[in-house]
Every structure is written in structure tokens, then in C-alpha cells.
Amino acid sequence: MLCECGQAEATVHEVLIKGDKQVARHLCEQCARKAGIDPKPSGSMTELIAKHAMGHSMGIGAQIVTAPKRAASCPSCKTTYDSFKQNGVLGCPECYTTFLEVLTPLLERAHEGATHHVGKIPRRALDSTKSHPGSRIDALLGSLEQRAERLATLRKQLDEAIRAEQYERAAKVRDEIRSLGEIVDEGAEPEPS
């Protein structure tokens, strides 16, 4: 969609509620600044991601959402980012890969800043990696870099728990680190030849 100026892609969408009428404006970033609209998204952190993704902000009367850079549509199910914004649900598992970049800030908001899963990994799938190490374990645990990041997340949680003197919680995090370590070690071991 083009901006009102007709020269650039509209990336700022403002919806004003006047009485019971909705007035929508679609502007490029430059025009938005001129109109005195902050093109950064606004909204409460605790608001659910679905709402956020659908463009509800906490501001009274006005909603401002910047359009993220996006892949046109998911190659697997043809879902577009716009339709995700409208419905609050993605089309298929592949959508997470397609839209990962634009989803990441939304995930961070919905999950207290988290970007990496820690916790259960499908057990049979994991067991099957023992007979086929390599690519299969990557599919479950990610690259070495991603595994390191997951461990870093857990170490940070451990530090926080200890600093807050929540020792029971710290013990749970330590268990998690240990089990992840075991999985990674087992998976990384080459098959005995």
C-alpha cells in the first residue's frame, strides 16, 4: 500500500476512533514523522501477543503499528503476515521459519524477553538421534551456536535465582542444565565404528 504522498510504501498505519467512526491513515515513515506520529509501536508489555500482532495498542483512540519487513507469504501454506496479524494464528509450522525475523520481537514481548525454548524435547525423536547423530539432532536442538545460546539462557536464570536466594528454583534450573548437557553429549558422540 502506498502512502498518502503517493511516493513511498506506507509502513505506519494509524486508526483513529472519532465518535463511532474509524478513520484510517496509511503513511510512509517520513510523512508519519511530519504528522507527529511516533512510528515505533506502542503498547503494554503484558498485553498478549495475539492482540499485539493484530494491531491493538494500549493508546486510547489511536493505534500505531509499524509494518515489519516481511516475506510475502509462507512457501508451504501461503499464509501472509497480514493474515497472521488479522487472525492471530499462523498457518503452519513452516510459518515460524518464514516469519522468524518479524515474529521474534513479538515473541519477546509475549514471553518476558525469551527467544529460546528450554525444556522438553520430543523423546522418541531425541532417542532416534542416537542412532543417527548429526543432522537429526540439529533439527531438534539446533546448531552448536543455538545450543550455546540455550545454555546461556539457563545460566542466566540460574544466576538470577541464586541472587534472589531462590535456591529451590536454582536447583530446578541446574537440573535443566544437566539434562541438556547430557542430551548434547550423547547426541554429539559419533557412532562407535
Binding site: T46, L48, I49, A50, A53, S76, C77, T79, S83, Q86, N87, G88, V89, L90, G91, C92, P93, Y96, T97, L103, L106, L107, A110, H111, E112, G113, A114, T115, H116, H117, V118, G119, K120, I121, P122, R123, R124, A125, D138, A139, L140, L141, G142, S143, Q146, T153, Q157, Q166, E168, R169, K172, V173, D175, E176
Partner: protein, 382 residues
């Protein structure tokens, strides 16, 4: 007079088993049952290789039903499960499952994201009878929503069962899983563990002392959701509140479980008990009056709406756990809290009734159960 409704299809709905009184939810001795009604763990899972439900074709969704049904029925798994094709059920039976918290309102309606869907969408519920500790919704927002339930505060037990069921299903079906994001779900708010740990709390003390708002604020600060009796988007009825985690990414199941069961919920329990003690010490007359009036109304009213019944039963529940009502067992009140709901009431009586008639039937049931009916049974006016 209303005649029994004619069934268009043979009725295989397990009414007798559901209303048989054996459900875990009715167990009166769960840990911390004075405050915690029940503990629930829900796991959201999707099958790899299929679009999420709202984008899946009818053929896909029927195939998902078949795969899940087959897997749940496997002899080596937990169960057995009673399989209910929700789209084939009568409206009253779908409502009955909602009232028992076995399916969501959304699942009862067959509603899907973006305002699509309807009652005919292929979907199912699986229930382990007669305890109803384990259940599953198939083709709700996600392909599979597993639920494990325990009476009282017993999230760890509930999780153990849910985890085992999850392993059993995964032993035969591939789940959509991402190395960085974990279990993939239709809505990104559930991604990661896909786990929701929730407890149904009875907080009349905090409501009466006015401290419930503080709990709500504290919950918000801790990224927890406080919801009404029927979960998302529902009102609180009779001082029952559902507390659950919102964060599913970046915290492992064991940490989430610990945060809820060993840290957050015990504090709310302590706070509620403190409120109740304060009411007993400083405002005993008012408290006793409230409880006794509630029981009195339930024992004598002739027309009772379901929300009113829930409010009164909530006060009676409080009276029982505080020892102010010695002659009514807690299990009776827990049972009534289900039976006064519209669908339960109609199934209990055995026919569908318009609302006005339900109020009368509900009042009759309450009187009969709570003790005065004997005196009134031969009333010539009836």
C-alpha cells in the same frame, strides 16, 4: 408439558458415566482443598507435516482426527479414552463438556481463527472415564490439546500424567518442533513448552477483604493470567479464579511447575487463609450470616438461576471448609456446582428444558440434595 426431546441420532454420549459422581474433580481431599479446587496442566501439540487447524483442509482435519484417535486408543498408552466426535454431539452435550472443563467454549462451537468455522467442523474430545483425569481436544486451535487434572493443589502429579501421555502420543506421531522455538503452536503465545499450568482457586476471603485486586496486580506483574471460571474471556463466578502462566517460551516445564506450585500458589493460599482468619476473628457475625443465608436460600428457594446458585454454593463451600456448616459434605457441594449448570441439569433430569423451567428444576434439585425436601415432598400445592 415438555416431552423428552427426540434424538435424531442414536445417543451414545456417556451421560451415566459423566454424571456418575466418580470424577476426580469431586474428590474432597485434594491437597489444600480449602482454597485450591483443582490443578490442571495443558499441553498444546501439533502434528508435523500438516498446516495448523485453521489453515488445514477438511481432509487434513479428518486425517488428524484419525491419527490422534488411533494413537490415543493404542493399548500400551494411558487410558482407555472415550472418543467423542464433537461435531456429531447435540448442543446440550457439547455444553455439558464445557461445564466439566473437558472442552473449551471455542471447541464446543467449532469456532476457528478469523471468525471461520462452525458446529460441523470435524473435531473431537477424548476423555479417560470415569475419573476424567486425562482428556484431549483434537482440532481445537492446535491439533492436540492434552489436559491433565487433579483435585486440589497437585500440579506435579497432573504434569507427570500429561508428560506420560505426551510421550505416548509422540512415540507414534511426529510433533512440529523447532530447534530454537520448541513445540510449534498456531498462536505464538503458546510456543515453546506449549504448557499451561493452572489452578482453580476459591478466594472468597480475599474478595470480602477487598484484597483480590492486589492479587490481580501481583499476578499481572508476574506475567500470570487470572481468569474466570471457564477460562479465557469468562467472568468470575462465585469467587472462583483460574490462575495460570502466560509465558511458555524460555522457561522449562520444571521451572514453570516450581514457580506455580512451590512459590506463587502457596503465597496466594496463605493470603486467602489470612483473609478468612481475619473475617472469623473480626467479622464473625457477618460471615456466619452470609454462609447461613446462602444455605437457607438453597434449601428453600423455588426458582434459582445458575449464576445465583454458583454464588450461593461458593458461600456454602466457604462455610464447610471453615467448619461453620457441619452437616453438608464438601463433595456434595462440588457435585452441585456441576449439576446446577444448564446442560448438567437437563441431562440429570433427563430432558431439555427452557430457561424458566430450568430455574424451577434447579431449585428442586438443590432442595432435594441439601436436605429440606423431605419436609416439603408431600406439599399438596405441588
Amino acid at each position: 408439558m415438555t416431552t423428552p426431546a427426540k434424538d435424531p441420532t442414536p445417543d451414545t454420549f456417556p451421560t451415566a458415566e459423566l454424571l456418575g459422581g466418580a470424577a476426580e474433580l469431586l474428590r474432597p481431599d485434594g491437597p489444600d482443598h480449602d482454597v485450591v479446587v483443582s490443578s490442571r496442566v495443558r499441553l498444546a501439540r501439533n502434528l508435523a507435516g500438516f498446516p495448523f487447524v485453521a489453515h488445514a483442509s477438511r481432509t487434513d482435519r479428518n486425517q488428524i482426527l484419525d491419527l490422534c484417535r488411533h494413537r490415543l486408543a493404542a493399548a500400551d498408552g494411558p487410558g482407555p479414552f472415550t472418543w467423542l466426535r464433537v461435531h456429531d454431539l447435540k448442543a446440550v452435550d457439547r455444553s455439558l463438556l464445557v461445564e466439566r472443563h473437558l472442552i473449551s467454549k471455542q471447541h464446543a462451537k467449532g469456532a476457528m481463527a478469523g471468525g471461520q468455522g462452525g458446529p460441523d467442523e470435524p473435531r473431537a474430545a477424548a476423555i479417560s472415564l470415569p475419573l476424567e483425569r486425562l482428556s484431549a481436544m483434537v482440532n481445537e486451535e492446535d491439533h492436540l490439546r492434552l489436559q491433565s487434572l487433579r483435585a486440589g493443589l497437585a500440579l506435579a502429579d497432573a504434569y507427570r500424567d500429561a508428560d506420560a501421555l505426551d510421550d505416548h502420543i509422540e512415540a507414534g506421531l511426529d510433533f512440529a518442533f523447532h530447534p530454537r522455538l520448541g513445540y510449534l503452536t498456531a498462536c505464538p503465545t503458546n510456543v515453546g513448552t506449549g504448557a499451561r499450568f493452572s489452578v482453580m482457586l476459591h478466594l472468597p476471603g480475599l474478595r470480602m477483604t477487598g484484597d483480590i485486586e492486589k492479587v490481580k496486580r501481583a499476578a499481572d506483574d508476574m506475567s500470570l493470567a487470572i481468569r474466570g471460571f471457564y477460562g479465557e474471556g469468562s467472568q468470575n463466578i462465585g469467587d472462583f479464579y483460574q490462575l495460570s502462566n502466560q509465558t511458555t517460551l524460555g522457561k522449562s516445564e520444571r521451572v514453570l511447575l516450581h514457580d506455580m506450585e512451590s512459590s506463587i500458589v502457596p503465597r496466594v493460599i496463605e493470603y486467602e487463609r489470612l483473609g478468612r482468619r481475619m473475617l472469623i476473628e473480626r467479622r464473625r457475625d457477618i460471615l456466619e450470616d452470609k454462609v447461613s443465608r446462602a444455605l437457607g436460600l438453597l434449601r428453600s428457594a423455588r426458582l434459582v438461576a445458575s449464576d445465583e446458585a454458583m454464588g450461593l454454593l461458593s458461600h456454602v463451600r466457604l462455610g464447610i471448609v471453615l467448619g461453620l456448616i457441619p452437616d453438608v459434605p464438601l463433595a456434595t457441594v462440588s457435585g452441585l456446582m456441576l449439576l446446577v449448570q444448564p446442560a448438567h441439569l437437563q441431562r440429570k433430569i433427563g430432558r431439555e428444558m427452557p430457561q424458566a423451567e430450568r430455574r424451577r428444576a434447579r431449585a428442586d434439585l438443590l432442595r432435594a440434595t441439601l436436605g429440606r425436601e423431605g419436609l416439603l415432598r408431600d406439599d399438596p400445592a405441588r
